[in-house]
Amino acid sequence: MGLIYAGRMELATRYAALALVTPPDAGSAMHVGRLQDDLAVLLAEMTETVTGLRLGAAFQPNIADLVRHPVRLLRGGLVALPRVDSAPDPRPPSARWADLPANPARAAGPVQVWTGLVVAAATSGQGLRAQAHHMSGAQRWTALGELAALAEVLAVTRSDLLTQLGSGNGRGGRARQAAAALAVEAREVVRLAGDPGEPDGRAWSPVYPSRRIVPVSTLAALPRAVENAGRLLSRGDASITDVLSLTRVLAQTDRAAVAVLRAAGISQDGVSERLVTLLDAHADGLATSVTAARANLASLSPGSPAALAQGREIGASGLPRLQAAARRAAEARAVVPHVTAYAAATADMTIALRDAASRAVAGHGVAVRDRSEDSPLLWRPAADFDVAPLVRGLDGAVRTARRAAIEATTDVPAPGAERTLRASTAQLRHALARRQIALRPEAPTTAPLTAHFEPVGRSRAALRA
């Protein structure tokens, strides 16, 4: 990848990590807001440079569009982000960017941090324009992932800024919604950019996941199989019994993975005691939920044979391999990188399980055992509250899985098949992950995109922890 672009983007990423934890005060809020507007314009141009996409007709995005046109939506979201100040700044950008620090370490205060970020983004954009036509498909995806991470920082910090400025309704409400949608769009592109299962090159609007089942002939394939299970669950046709089945498989696989890490000696290869504890807690959360619900829930809808088949493949092929590896320390040590990659992949699958459970009950596809004495029937259609304990349990497992994924990806190098991810970008992704409470949009698919973030004070504490 071009040196000018790469060096400047690395700098921009470091400034972005600072920006995430350096909220403006009342005096600098509007200045920072204008710099954010500059960044939105720059990132939109850079996205266009990398992908060659031009903006289509403006439309209100919804979740289905996120699946169909993730990159186009990111480009649109950047352009559509309402400017913080309706009166345009009469000064040229060079005047706004004058207060440039020498490097991130010397940046004093939010204005300097944001100036550094905007200028680094602008210069990396120049590098990109000069070098984009020499870049391979994988390099373009890497660049796109980096741009999207910056866009996510922009969305999160814009959300904070609007809170600070007290823009709660009317035009401010629309601005907040646009920022929340941009965060979801950016995160989806970051995810795609790091996903080697997605097509390389210029296929920018792929993303209907196939019904392909990933075989687990070796433990190296286990993380991909788990990711695929999450994708298949996200297609929207999984029944409640599919959810129970895959939750059971994931709980058992977690426990076997814990056994492997313990057999390998937890100080091995940077695997922390904390990861083992988190995986164990994740397994317990899933197992308790599924054993409590199993005898009480049945499905009224046909379900997803593909998701079920992927779950069976993990249970019938991956699980025994893990259990075998846990029996001998040398074998266990050999597979630790795969188990760590597996731990990182469990978060998306757990989220998909929770969403699929919510979707099944919302779609009237769940029956619940009617255990009342006077009931003429054994089953009745389930209401939300019947499935609430299961969804609550899965929700808790999602939180644990996110922490485990952060733990699993902090110290361990990415597998060779994964697209390049710069260390500073990875750190930024972890910082962003800590801010997210609920980034995944809610069903149904026509709902508007939205996101929720931790307040900035708590995220700063998390970053320092």
Partner: protein
């Protein structure tokens, strides 16, 4: 089917249709799940067996009475006996393989419970 009907299936399974026997197996597994620790390895194996039953027949349940003095391991023995009888009679033959898989999960659950009773962990942990 009432509790007395449920008892009849458990006592004389060959007098009933395979689907009724499988419904009784579900009822016995329900009791076994109640008598296992929530979220335990054995309970997960019982859930896996339940999935096998769902692949063969619709999720009806016949609730038999199981004396509360019997622990999960004894209750599971009843489920395994019923399931073994169903495997011999089930049509089409391809369903027998699914039920055999469910039986393997019940055997695994019984092994785990037996190991726990004698103070051992699972063999692979």
């Amino acid at each position: 089917m009432g509790t007395s009907g449920g008892q009849a299936v458990v006592l004389r399974p060959d007098d009933f249709e395979v689907t009724e026997v499988l419904a009784a197996v579900r009822g016995v597994l329900d009791v076994a799940l109640e008598r296992c620790d929530a979220g335990s390895a054995a309970a997960l194996e019982i859930c896996a067996a339940w999935e096998g039953l769902d692949a063969v027949s619709a999720s009806s349940v016949i609730e038999p009475t199981m004396q509360s003095i019997f622990g999960a391991i004894v209750v599971l023995a009843t489920a395994r006996r019923l399931l073994r009888g169903a495997i011999i009679r089930v049509e089409p033959l391809s369903s027998a393989f699914l039920l055999a898989e469910a039986l393997r999960h019940l055997d695994a659950a019984a092994s785990i419970l037996a190991a726990e009773a004698s103070g051992e962990g699972p063999s692979w942990a």
